[in-house]
């Protein structure tokens, strides 16, 4: 009789990273950029939650004004506008990036 086959050792051989299927100068960077774009899309709402939620937003509440406008109003609408800008740039990038995982 032969030696029993070693089961776990043979199971699920790693498919292996497909070696350089894009001829570009650095295919890894492109892939990483796509990945990064998606990560940004995931982080953006978290940033929004952080900026809009109590501990952070309370820092700006109160009677103080800047250029005659209440600071909190400037803060809320400023953050809002910034978020819109980020979402705009992101969605254009993601739409160009095509399909995601």
């Amino acid at each position: 009789m032969q030696a029993p086959p070693s089961a776990p050792g043979h199971a699920a051989p790693p498919a292996g990273a497909a070696p350089g299927d894009a001829p570009g100068p650095d295919p890894g960077a492109d892939r990483h950029r796509g990945r990064q774009l998606q990560d940004r899309a995931l982080v953006l709402p978290l940033v929004a939650v952080f900026l809009f939620m109590p501990p952070a937003i309370r820092l700006f509440a109160g009677p103080q004004t800047l250029l005659g406008l209440p600071v909190i109003v400037l803060y809320v609408f400023g953050v809002w506008a910034l978020l819109v800008l980020c979402a705009f740039r992101l969605s254009r990038g993601l739409a160009r990036g095509g399909e995601a995982p």
């Binding site: 032969q2 699920a12 709402p45 809009f52 005659g68 909190i72 739409a95």
Partner: protein, 925 residues
């Protein structure tokens, strides 16, 4: 002052415009010219149905009362939309692939196409939305009274009724054109988009006028703002609660789900809406606070802040601007009501009316009944009933204070769907029972802590809020279990959401989902991974193409059903006729039907005509998550390695047999040489003697010549036998078998051996003659076998032995037992005596070459029979078996023996064995 006639005229003109736009857009879409109708801009504008009359007027009122709190109504949607990649994208993809018609449909489809769940969600949505619709009617009539107090001729309630009737007409006309709820309502969406533009323009116009016309610039406007409006206290628990609720509502509100998911035609539109919708909301909100602050400053203290948008322009004498603002508010309210009733009517007709109708007409559904018209009628009736409910609620609740908070109450109501929805698309483990229990619990707590107290005055139980039911303080709706000091909204949200989530998780952990649930869970949770896999064919069912076609015809209509089936047939590569009803086709059809009647009803209807529904484990595994796939993969590897091992073992065995065969052949050659050498030696030596000794006495010379003759005869016989055996074993020739009588053959064998038996004194006993002993064989060869057996008995049984011949008819053949009472064959030699030259093992046959038994066995096997040695205590019993003519074994023997192996009998190449020979000893193999 604006006359009431002018207001009525403007509003009517606006309504006519809306009808016209919807009609034109619908016609354009029908002609296939979709271009800008399907643009991301229209999609985004249609999502702005989120901004209702309540936000149009109420946001300013809220800002005047509590400062920036109104912004929380928008922060939730902003966060959800800029986080579209997480959640909305998945919902939209699922909605498109599964042809989802409403949020109730999505939840029910995810949890095993459970209609109970769909009913629960529908009821919840209707209960939460009816007051919300009433709120819109109220804000509309309220806005009219600002222009024209009741005494001038417009009774506010009457206006409410006519508005409701007009909205019902519009919704029925443009919202129920197609039976396919998953199809886009181009007319409605375009009208809604126009209204979105109007309300934005109106609010921005009023805002600009207030800031720069009345207020004198932004700095001036905010100069004397009450400090309470910007206090940090405004950003506490209530801020959090409202943000959460608004975020939940922008997904879970039936109308929001309708425009965002159901009406979506292209996922890329969502990418645009992700930034454009927050931008729209930003613009809507920008002037709310300035209008509120200016209103507080300029208008008398008793003025209703909810109407500042109208009263400020009126106060300044800007009648046209006021009219524009009125139209803006009108747009906000009507668009909400239209979309909400479309969404709700789809839910009611698909999940409540349809199942009841299905049950009522269970017997005749297969053959008759036009589901299509029933569906459309039920949708239209639902629209009328829903609007009537909203109107009645508005009339009965009456007081404006009761309605003011209803918007947020509705948000909290539909938010009860959120846990099941989120868990449904992110967690495979969530089960149907858990979703049912969780939603029901959350719903109940919401009703008790929020909805019920909202009409406390109407209930006639004023003590409920203060003292709790039956005076139990722990059950006070606004301070459940003593949780005091929290505003009612946060309080209700805390309890309902905690219980909802806890029940969902808890019950999921202890209940087992059905296969259909697991399948749907996989399809939903892994929607991005699954799309690459081939669609369909997870569920195995049987139905006829005709039945399926009839069903499709009755739901989709003749023309679309015909188109669908032609396309399906083409996909299957058929040029004409109905497509094959395979699993993939049934699943595809069910999805198409789900686009019209919802997943649960479609599943039930297909279930009525398809039988034997099973979900194969293989299908479940193939769509399992990655861990399960790896497990499955390694399992397959193990199986494969086991197979390989088995193959290797077989190969080893075959190799062993080959080696054995080689050894046997060598032994055979050695034996043959030895056998040939013995007579040759004696012939040579005697012929040498004869040649060299010429003076031998004649009688001695004759004796020597006699020996030479005997030995050469023996040599010839030996060679004959070897040739015979080789011929038999190779089975190159198909034998001509004939029908022979076994008794005759035995007679012949006995007479041939008569001299031999008489000489040795062998006593032969023979069983009674069988009448019907016909077998397929060759007479001479068969006789040869018996002669061989009898002469063996003479040789080995010793002198004066007894031989018994017994013929017995068996099931498929005839056996002849040849039994002697000699010493028998030792067990160890039982098979070896059938080998060539068995004498090597001490079974010396002085006159034969030891080939008799192997030859006999080969002959028998060529007849399709066998020769075996039976186990016995005394003597040797040889059994000859022959199949009867006409049996399978006989035919096989007669038909094609040519392909037999050359290895021969002794090496275990088994001939076709018959049942009667089963008790024989197995061959070497």
């Amino acid at each position: 002052m604006i006359s009431s006639n002018l207001i009525i005229g403007v509003c009517t003109a606006y309504v006519v415009l809306l009808f016209g736009v919807a009609f034109l857009a619908d016609r354009r879409a029908r002609r296939g010219r979709l271009d800008w109708l399907q643009s991301p801009l229209v999609y985004t504008l249609s999502i702005s149905v989120y901004c209702t009359g309540w936000t149009f007027y109420g946001a300013v009122g809220s800002a005047a009362r509590s400062g920036l709190e109104f912004v929380a109504i928008y922060t939730g949607p902003v966060i959800v939309f800029i986080g579209w990649w997480w959640f909305l994208r998945k919902l939209v993809r699922i909605g498109r692939l599964q042809r989802i018609t409403s949020i109730a449909d999505l939840v029910s489809s995810r949890y095993g196409k459970s209609n109970t769940l769909a009913v629960l969600v529908t009821v919840l949505a209707v209960v939460a939305s009816t007051p919300y619709i009433a709120l819109q009617l109220q804000s509309l009539t309220l806005s009219f009274t600002v222009f024209a107090p009741a005494r001038e001729g417009i009774p506010p309630d009457g206006a409410g009724f006519w508005i409701a009737a007009g909205l019902a007409l519009f919704t029925i006309l443009f919202g129920t054109r197609n039976v396919d709820a998953n199809e886009r309502h181009h007319g409605v969406v375009t009208a809604i988009a126009l209204e979105a533009v109007i309300k934005l323009v109106a609010l921005v116009a009023v805002g600009l006028f207030v800031v720069f016309g009345l207020g004198g610039g932004p700095g001036e406007v905010f100069a004397d703002m009450p400090p309470a409006l910007t206090a940090p206290e405004g950003f506490g628990a209530r801020w959090l609660t409202i943000t959460f609720l608004s975020g939940a509502a922008v997904v879970c509100l039936p109308r929001m789900f309708q425009v965002t998911v159901v009406e979506n035609v292209d996922e890329r539109h969502l990418a645009t809406a992700a930034w454009a919708f927050p931008l729209y909301l930003l613009l809507i909100c920008l002037f709310v606070l300035p209008i509120a602050v200016t209103g507080l400053r300029l208008l008398p203290p008793g003025a209703n802040p909810d109407m500042f948008v109208l009263t400020l322009p009126l106060m300044a004498g800007q009648d046209v601007l006021a009219l524009v603002a009125l139209i803006g508010g009108f747009s906000s309210a009507t668009s909400m009501v239209i979309v909400a009733t479309i969404a709700l009517s789809t839910m009611v007709s698909n999940h409540i009316i349809m199942p009841i109708w299905l049950r009522l007409t269970l017997r005749e559904t297969k053959t008759s009944g036009d589901v299509r018209s029933m569906l459309l009628i039920s949708r239209r009736a639902s629209i009328i009933v829903l609007l009537l409910l909203g109107y009645l609620y508005f009339r009965l609740s009456g007081s404006s204070t009761a309605l003011a908070s209803i918007g947020l109450i509705a948000f909290a109501g539909v938010a009860q769907i959120l846990p099941s929805l989120v868990a449904g698309v992110f967690w495979r483990g969530a089960t149907r029972r858990a979703a049912l229990a969780a939603t029901a619990c959350g719903f109940a707590i919401w009703v008790y802590t929020l909805l019920l107290p909202s009409f406390e005055a109407g209930l006639g139980a004023p003590g409920l809020l203060a003292n709790g039911p039956w005076g139990i303080a722990a059950l006070r709706p606004h301070a459940l279990f003593g949780l005091e000091g929290v505003d009612p909204l946060s309080h209700a949200l805390f309890w309902s959401m905690s219980v909802n989530v806890a029940v969902l998780v808890g019950v999921s952990l202890v209940t087992l989902p059905s296969p259909l649930e697991r399948l749907q869970a996989a399809l939903f949770v892994d929607v991005f991974r699954m799309q690459t896999a081939a669609p369909g064919a997870y569920i195995r069912r049987y139905a006829t193409s005709e039945d399926l076609f009839t069903l499709a015809q009755r739901i989709l209509g003749t023309e679309p059903a015909h188109r669908l089936f032609t396309e399906l047939a083409r996909d299957q590569g058929l040029s004409s006729g109905l497509p094959r009803p395979d699993d993939a086709l049934i699943e595809r059809l069910e999805r198409e039907l789900a686009g019209a009647v919802g997943a649960a009803s479609a599943h039930a209807m297909v279930g009525q005509i398809a039988s034997g529904e099973t979900i194969s484990m293989g299908a479940l595994i193939s769509i399992a998550d990655e861990t399960a796939q790896i497990v499955e993969y390694s399992h397959r590897l193990e199986e494969k390695s086991r197979e390989l091992e088995e193959t290797a073992a077989e190969l080893r065995l075959a190799n062993m047999r080959l080696q054995e065969l080689g050894a046997q052949r060598d032994a055979f050659l050695a034996q043959v040489s030895h056998e040939l050498r013995t007579p040759m030696t004696s012939i040579r030596s005697f012929s040498d003697i004869l040649r060299e000794n010429r003076d031998l006495p004649p009688e001695q010379a004759r004796r020597f010549l006699g020996i030479i003759s005997d030995e050469s005869q023996r040599l010839t016989r030996l060679l004959d036998e070897i040739l015979d055996l080789g011929f038999l074993e190779s089975r190159r020739v198909a034998w001509e078998l004939e029908q022979v009588d076994l008794e005759d053959v035995l007679d012949r064998a006995l007479s041939a051996t008569e001299a031999l038996t008489a000489r040795s004194g062998l006593r032969i006993t023979r069983s009674a003659r069988q009448r019907d002993a016909q077998v397929m064989a060759q007479r001479d060869r068969l006789a040869q076998v018996f002669i061989n057996l009898i002469s063996n008995a003479v040789k080995y049984a010793g002198p004066d032995a007894a031989l018994t011949l017994t013929i017995r008819a068996e099931r498929g053949g005839i056996t002849v037992d040849v039994a002697d009472d000699g010493p028998g064959v030792p067990d160890s030699d039982r098979e070896q005596i059938f080998e060539k030259f068995a004498r090597a093992r001490g079974l010396y046959d002085s006159r034969g070459a030891g080939l008799g038994l192997p030859i006999s066995r080969e002959i028998m096997r060529n007849f399709g029979g066998d020769l075996t040695l039976r186990a016995s205590r005394r003597g040797a019993i040889f059994r000859v078996y022959l199949p009867r003519p006409g049996t399978e074994a006989a035919q096989r023997a007669a038909a094609a023996p040519g392909s037999g192996s050359t290895a021969g009998a002794a090496t275990g190449a088994m001939p076709p064995r018959a049942a009667a020979a089963d008790d024989s000893a197995p061959g070497l193999g």
